[in-house]
Symmetry: none
Subunit: 421 residues, 2 copies
């Protein structure tokens, strides 16, 4: 079954509101085997709604709309779509009574405004979709040719509730048994460029064994998502399990997690398993690494704290970096990073310390040490390793990527203690 | 001028990624008088792209696309749209050289993978839109009938940069003079609940003098957006200037900035103007406050660094908080916050220190000190002030709001030194 989504509202079209409804609907529908083939957003005008929905119906015969069901004069979804199906509008007494009841229950003064009656108008032959989460009911309209439109409210909380309560069960019923699903699995990698991954993946690079492969680069690395389409749920799971195993074998330690795993949370758990504590020593990241580790609930049994050593003086006085090291190698050097890590570890009496120093830009770069030069050192109970990855992007990305690279080095030292840097 | 936006990507269609590009483009274009009349999202397939863009072109003759310009095999935007215009693809040597240069500059090993050459292929007769923010250039394709498509990359940071650098100037040129605009101005407030703002605003609360007013709550406070529609640019500017002045008069010190002003950047400038240095002492925010201050380019002349004092022991050993204070008042108390601030200021020899300690949850709350209890202290050259704001939200929101409240206290002490807390 192919479905289109039409989200309705001037606010969406003008960009004042970010459309999260369409993404939510798409995920929920994919999980039961419905493919969303197009999404559109149109304004509140009757003609805009009518043409967007008519075109979508012509393409797929199945459309879900959100928005334009409220009591105000710019809520024209129902009459516009009724016209496409050649239906008149009629007053639904049950909805009207329900609205009046809600009005009274809230203790609002006087009678319900006449404008609210509009919410009780529905197209002839439509099915009312109950809304436990708000005042505007949804509408299901179909015809003998099997074409249908489901109209849901635009308020995300109401839309999500109704999607689960009434939309998905109805669509599932239409699908019958024997439906295939769209299922995905994601592997998270870091430290390898997007363009270098195909070579690492070799024959798997463009998808394999009926699975498609997407490369999703972000500041925290490149996610690899395997997607399986057109198979029954159990079969899809087996195919994805096999696909994930094949990818992991190729990629080795480059993969740090699955799905939306956070590297900071994984590192925290590795430390907890080993009953180790950690401290940070941050120059260019300025607290970002500490913020990531402490973002995780319950981090206080592992994270002691750390030093933000932004000024060189602070690197000396608070971390014990030697003046000679700073003078000889500079603040951005593996030597300084190593002394920062070891200094932090001993001063805080921690098992592990991770240090970052670098040039996040936009200023401060030199031909020898351009913007994006980052030095990272990790001290695990006296064993120190350091790296100098090339990091690209603007200031914010360089800082985020530096923190991610620092966490990655901690992980590798814990998981592969004998690996050479 | 009517324009449609087509955002391209399976990711968007499947709902794995929320589409923020379309909203950004719509806002930016509205500001120069361009109406977005429809937005669509289609998948990565060549046919999907071709039909979505062709239909949009048929409706408006002017289309902006995002996505599908990368180096991988699922990036088919350029050839699909070239086919609509009946153009062949050709290799652009200048782009290729640029890509090779980028590859080398990053210090990646070996030659650039062959896959990257695809990014240098452009439709015949197309104009290359320079991308200072990433590797994939944008493309502008038009024909003798005046129809045009602008293709931008899907990575939001790159798309936004290119929108400002090259797209808006080009579209503005096409528009000519005599167009009305939709113009907005935003005032940023913090420390006042959304529901309390209408009372403060009085007669201005629901918009005034032809301006509409929107309340936009976020973790960093409530933004107030004034919007003016249907006037020429100069007139709209005058109306908004007047409106902003009226709002500022009502709201006083509650307003800390305009537009997208960052409170951390404003605080940094206030300190710089006074030639003061600052350090942080962070418990529950775990580095977030330091990260916000150091996110601003050039912060190193003001920010010395700080201590992340997550464990109580660290509060004692690294900041000199007295054991008796921790025992009597607890780690989450104004007393502890004050000693953290003063300890940090003297140990780092700074002019200003800001300390945050609190319970970010989800665990650790007590009836007396529930989750969301936050204590903040600021020491400005020996004058110490502390507050205990009630902060709501999940762990992440509580931490963000705590950092914002801490910056707000620094700002108030610098701008209104005689104010009582």
């Amino acid at each position: 079954m192919n479905v289109e989504i039409v989200t309705i509202g001037d606010e969406l079209l003008l960009g004042f509101t970010i459309d999260t409804n369409a993404a939510h609907l798409a995920r929920e529908l994919a999980a039961i085997g419905v493919a969303i083939v197009r999404r559109s957003t149109c304004g509140d005008g009757a003609d805009d709604i009518a043409s967007a929905v008519r075109e979508a119906l012509d393409r797929t015969g199945a459309v879900i709309t959100t928005g334009g069901l409220g009591p105000t004069s710019d809520d024209l979804t129902k009459p516009s779509i009724a016209a496409i199906f050649g239906r008149a509008m009629r007053l639904d007494e049950a909805i009207l009574e329900n609205l009046k009841g809600r009005w009274k229950a809230r203790g609002w003064p006087g009678d319900m405004p006449i404008a609210n009656r509009q919410q009780a108008m529905i197209p002839d032959g439509a099915t009312v979709l109950a809304n436990r989460h708000g005042s505007a009911p949804g509408i299901w309209l179909d015809d003998d040719a099997g074409r249908w439109v489901a109209m849901l409210p635009g308020v995300p909380r109401e839309m999500r509730g109704m999607c689960a309560d009434v939309l998905l069960p109805r669509v599932r019923e239409r699908l019958g048994a024997n439906t295939t699903v769209i299922a995905s699995r994601t592997l998270r990698t870091t430290g390898v460029a997007e363009s270098a991954l195909p070579e690492l993946l070799g024959p798997l690079a463009s998808g394999f064994d009926g699975l498609s492969l997407a490369y999703l680069p972000g500041w925290d690395g490149v996610d690899l998502r395997l997607t399986c389409r057109g198979h029954m749920a159990a079969e899809a799971t087996a195919m994805l399990d096999k696909g994930v195993a094949a990818m992991r074998e190729r990629l080795g330690a480059t993969v740090y997690g699955n799905g939306s795993d956070d590297l900071a949370a994984l590192v925290l758990q590795l430390l907890r398993d080993r009953q180790m504590t950690i401290v940070v020593a941050e120059s260019c990241t300025g607290g970002m690494l500490g913020a990531r580790l402490t973002a995780i609930p319950g981090s206080s049994d592992v994270v002691l704290g750390g030093v933000i050593a932004y000024a060189n003086e602070v690197k000396e006085t608070q971390l014990g970096v030697r003046a000679a090291t700073l003078a000889t190698y500079g603040a951005v050097s593996e030597e300084t990073a190593r002394e920062m890590a070891s200094g932090a570890r001993s001063r805080f009496n921690a098992d592990v310390a991770v240090a970052v120093t670098g040039i996040a830009g936009p200023d401060g770069g030199t031909p020898e040490k351009p913007v994006g030069t980052i030095c990272i050192a990790v001290d695990v109970q006296g064993a120190v390793r350091s790296v100098r990855p090339a990091v690209v992007g603007d200031r914010d990305e360089i800082r985020r990527r530096s923190a991610q690279a620092a966490l990655s080095l901690v992980r590798r030292m814990l998981v592969h203690p004998s690996e050479t840097p």
